[in-house]
Symmetry: C2
Subunit: 319 residues, 2 copies
Amino acid sequence: MSEFDLINRYFKSQVSQRADVVLGIGDDCALLQAPVGKLLAMTTDTMVAGVHFPVNTAAKDIGYKLMAVNLSDLAAMGAEPGWALLAITLPAGDENWIQAFMHGFAELAATHGVQLVGGDTTSGPLSMSLQLTGFVKPDLVMRRNQARPGDKIYVSGTLGDAALGLKCVAGKLASSINLPYCVSRLTRPTPRIELGRELARFSRCAIDISDGLVADLGHIADASQCAAKVQLDALPLSEELQQYYGHKIDWSVVAASGDDYELCFTVPPEYEFVLKNIADKTQTRLTCIGEIQAGEGVHCFDQSGAEVILDRGGYNHFS
Amino acid sequence: MSEFDLINRYFKSQVSQRADVVLGIGDDCALLQAPVGKLLAMTTDTMVAGVHFPVNTAAKDIGYKLMAVNLSDLAAMGAEPGWALLAITLPAGDENWIQAFMHGFAELAATHGVQLVGGDTTSGPLSMSLQLTGFVKPDLVMRRNQARPGDKIYVSGTLGDAALGLKCVAGKLASSINLPYCVSRLTRPTPRIELGRELARFSRCAIDISDGLVADLGHIADASQCAAKVQLDALPLSEELQQYYGHKIDWSVVAASGDDYELCFTVPPEYEFVLKNIADKTQTRLTCIGEIQAGEGVHCFDQSGAEVILDRGGYNHFS
């Protein structure tokens, strides 16, 4: 089966059809009609086998996660998803693998109204880059540099599940330990698209947590020229993670490991009251974890008020 | 040096600043202002070390070529280049390599007014995907499916140089043979942006020749449901290629090998007269190589009128 047959068979047919796509897959470029009165929000994220996912990860989960991590970037800006271009490099044209990959990819794309409009298929070591374009009103954009002293810091969902799930998958926990929820959070993160769009009406500042809370909140602190004070015992934890750790939570897993794909955002105190409605409407847990202050850096404190030094690095590819 | 430092140092500073870029590199998404009255033209192309370029290719040439092959897709639609997102995977954060890569990349980007607005840097086997967005008026788009019987088939520039240059670089020619022009055509192809925009006023149908003339003209024939008749001795050849082959031209190199990045386009005979002006204005050689006819497929004929069967495959990653 040739590259073109593969593309025709799996990539053209399996995804949403949007009215603003004038020309989709099949020519030198896709042709798109941009919406009036909105900005385009563009992002790209790459996943490499053995770096971003274990080599034995199921193809359908890889496809799902590639879409999820890119959608998460749109969510952090408050943008509505639109178009995707997929550049995929495969060791061989394995039809079953591509079919499963596209199944996971298309499942999440359809949920969020994303149409695959173009791409490139090449041979080589397994990796893939997705480029997503979304739309956002200029006055409803959330940015990293808009936090102000006095703002409350919130996160969505729970933290650390994916990092614990990765330990489980990688065989770093006792073999009797089974953590299905944490593993599912690793393989199928939930991009907070609806939440991002609701938050954008009240929050000026958000980021998605892909490299760990301390690292990503650090980007907010740096860009906004503020300090972020975090109360570790306020961090939202899943039941499964709490049961695993008991009373000895590993804060470096919860606050300084990657792959959460939750939103971290700030709100002025006078808007905190609206968050309950947003949490209800989007069925998303929202938790205040600290406060923006004058100063610099991210500072984490335990229940006793002592500062806890966590590696801020998150996942750094070249350090 | 961390991933973020690398990005800050080389990717943020070295490229054009466009007025339609509301927010460039440094947040979860770039924010762009789409032009009114034009469609967006989007493309992505990947290059993998050892597949799309020899592993010992100079970093500055890889950067240049990545930009060139993506610009070539915009040229084929008649689009004006705008924004780029770069997803790059590197075995290690080699500062010199990245600096040289970005030098070649930025050089060509600046020529065509392209601004790098975002991307992703990851570790892994060397490969890179570029995503480009351009702009085109809806009534000035060239597409593959718009060729009609009676149209004349043209190509820009000369064909086969890059394929011969690759043989030279790969050590497949006698060691005494030196083909600097052909090698330069391999490493630094010329995207025909200005030509594409001029042609779009008179041609409805174009493609860029990346997989070889026969393969790419075949896409026009298939999409337009026509046949393409090509006169091999009409194909434009560089002096260096002609000197190398003498009277025994290898037509499979000229017409069925990749990496030309010239435009192949069709024009109704009544518009042929404008092509001389366009050739002069864009300083590009334009050569009639055949005709669109009823039927299907690409058919190549030699001087005697006999049909010559060339492998249509071009470069197929999985066959």
